[in-house]
Symmetry: C2
Amino acid sequence: MFFSKSFGYALRSILYVVMVNETQPRVQIQEVAERLQIPKHFLGKIMKMLAKEKIIDSAKGPFGGFFVNDGTVSTPLLRLMELTDGLEQFQECSLRLKKCNADKPCPMHNRIVQNRNELITMFSSTTIGDLIRSDDKKFINSI
Amino acid sequence: MFFSKSFGYALRSILYVVMVNETQPRVQIQEVAERLQIPKHFLGKIMKMLAKEKIIDSAKGPFGGFFVNDGTVSTPLLRLMELTDGLEQFQECSLRLKKCNADKPCPMHNRIVQNRNELITMFSSTTIGDLIRSDDKKFINSI
DNA sequence: TGATAAAAGGATGCGGACATCTTTTATGGT
DNA sequence: ACCATAAAAGATGTCCGCATCCTTTTATCA
């Protein structure tokens, strides 16, 4: 439930790059894919997108790879979600009724909206950096 | 976000059958599909499944159709979710990590688990009947 | 300047959710 | 017995998330 594989892959690969960059200037797709058990070519697409969107930086050629930039650790999870899954899912009616809204709620609306808002708040206020600080350094074994 | 189309179709069609059954002994797929704007043949599969699982009853032939049974209104939403989407989604790690659990949580685990449990509680404790009582009788315009 | 390394980009394939259409089976009315 | 009706069942089709593979571009170094 909840998030696409792309979101999970994106989040975990960013976390990995941030961690490894503390001791190593570049990280290559190959390494990330092997370490995190993510299909290499698919991960390539995702990390390329993350670089294009300036969540991380990249360099081609020998000794190239991916690395953090000034904004990486302060990226909110909601921004990641926007890039991988889109934010519409947070807005639209859980029964996908076009007409459902706070004034004319469907039977599920008021049972869902609070829970959903809590999730949005968490995604807005939590950053990549928060996730890393949240855990000890054996952390890398859990991504 | 969150629920399959099948879940929405199933829930709405059950609500419709319960409502209409107050004044009419049988409801046909054709009517449900038109009224709720659901693809007819796809709805047929879903309602057939609901009948097989005894959430509602059905009768073939002239004057046949679908109708409520003794258990219909007391069906918890979680049971519906189980039938349409499965319950695994509520259990598995939001990053889909096999090893993630309360003892060795991934960075997202503790940020998700409470929110998710609230959702499970709501789905367990809310029944079809609750959804109908929750609204006034213009309700049918919102499904 | 040529060889090599690594990301960027494009083409293709697969499986499952969603959707459509046709055939079969059961049932009540004549 | 026969016919009309409506659900059950099955065959087929579409689209998208996910995945794989191949080619191109860019950078580094000898």
